[in-house]
Symmetry: C2
Subunit: 243 residues, 2 copies
DNA sequence: TCCTTAAAGTATGAATATGCAACTAAAAGT
DNA sequence: ACTTTTAGTTGCATATTCATACTTTAAGGA
């Protein structure tokens, strides 16, 4: 098979980026009471990977992460935070990139920039599942949501990166009230509770959850949402201060 | 003035390290009811800086941080954690290193590795003040403890790095009980309380603090400490599970 | 129309944690 | 022995959280 122009261009673009450093993004979404993560599937091989990329020579690292995120989801203004640097001494020096390139018709030189050791800065992002438009990158055939529990084996240490992102998310959930970024503009109290229960992986008492959330005085109660179901209609709420 | 051999060797050692990445360490100590930070003073200029260094090509980033820490304090087995990557796009591209080298008799080439953009991984460390042996590095005349409140102006964004390390420390204090790493092996309840009050920058009620700490069941009560003062002798305690 | 069902919203008492103040203990000086 | 001073403890009021029960309301059906 002959390599695509996009791939060749990318493999020749090492001089644009800071050497030895990459960014990997754990992009969380929430749907059907499940926490989801965006995962790419490589072309021609069966490798799965987190969305990632490199830092341009003159680019703030947060801007690099935002750029990667926008490319994969179509969304600007995403809630985004770095959480850890992964710095194993052999990180990136396995044959992941070599095998991928070979499968796509390119043999990488031994000193190719993609074959060097890479640190990776882990970012986690929280997006409104209903607004994200998953879009594959130059390496990938697909860009899809996976249930956190049903993640495939990912390349390198990407499974560990997801785990650590999740731990950070749990720590931040009450601390900084980041959870709202995973929901649409308006939501019911039940949806919010389901989000918390999913992330924390434990059931919460409805009455107490409601009281706690309302006591924070960050929720604006809107009109009711008639669902057509045979029971009292829930209120819709809006978070008063996103991010 | 003619440059020292050590400095010349260091300036020629760029090929040993990962390019574009450094480590900066905020080393906290506690003494006289004050939180202290280790700060270096540059030779021949009046620049102050955090202890820092670079990552060897085959070295885990945590090992690099531990190496830097051991060089500055003489201590192994230090409590150490990365907390943030500082990645401004122009970071490192000011004239700090050029001025320093010039003052020490070396004119750096425009493309010298020290004049490139650098990301920096911030680590904070908690050490037992009484055991640390502050030791300057090749750039520095002195390596000294400074009260957090009395820090001098530091180079680059190092003052901001200290601020962010302090915020992280405050977050972690109860969360992971890291505070004990700032105290000697044994300590009185009063010393522990003073530590907490200093870090959190607020007074705590003695009775409540004691009850809370004891209820955690992580303190082992040892014999009493006779101070020679005209009052009841306090107990000494030991933390049961360092780190 | 009115009763039933189911989920939303609210209220209440118990358990636990925290804030505040007082009390007892003990080491050393007078 | 009495005082001073700090350590350690105790009791109680208040606040927060936990667990459960009660009330409300939209829609379906007798």
């Amino acid at each position: 098979m002959s390599p695509s122009k996009e791939l060749v261009d990318f493999l020749n673009s090492g001089h644009l980026y800071m050497p030895g450093i990459s960014i990997d993004c754990v992009i969380f979404g929430f749907h059907d009471r499940q926490l989801k993560v965006l995962v790419l599937q490589f072309k021609s091989t069966d490798g799965y990977a987190l969305p990632g990329g490199f830092i341009r020579k003159e680019e703030h690292i947060d801007d690099a992460a935002r750029r990667i995120l926008e490319e994969r989801t179509g969304l600007k203004e995403i809630y985004l935070e770095q959480f850890h640097v992964f710095g194993d001494s052999e990180r990136g020096r396995d044959d992941t990139h070599r095998k991928f390139s070979r499968a796509n018709g390119i043999e990488l030189e031994a000193d190719h920039w993609l074959l060097q050791r890479f640190l990776s800065i882990g970012y986690y992002a929280l997006v409104d599942f209903s607004r994200a438009m998953p879009t594959p990158d130059v390496f990938s055939d697909t860009c899809q949501w996976y249930d956190l529990a049903g993640l495939p084996d990912l390349i390198l240490d990407h499974n560990r990166i997801v785990q650590q992102a999740l731990e950070t998310l749990r720590l931040m959930l009450d601390n900084k009230l980041v959870g709202f970024n995973l929901l649409p503009e308006t939501f019911t109290m039940n949806e919010l509770q389901a989000l918390y229960e999913t992330i924390l992986d434990k059931p919460l008492l409805r009455a107490n959850f409601q009281r706690k959330m309302l006591s924070l005085e960050i929720l604006e109660r809107l009109e009711k949402k008639w669902t057509g179901k045979a029971h009292k209609a829930p209120y819709l709420y809006r978070f008063q201060d996103r991010h």
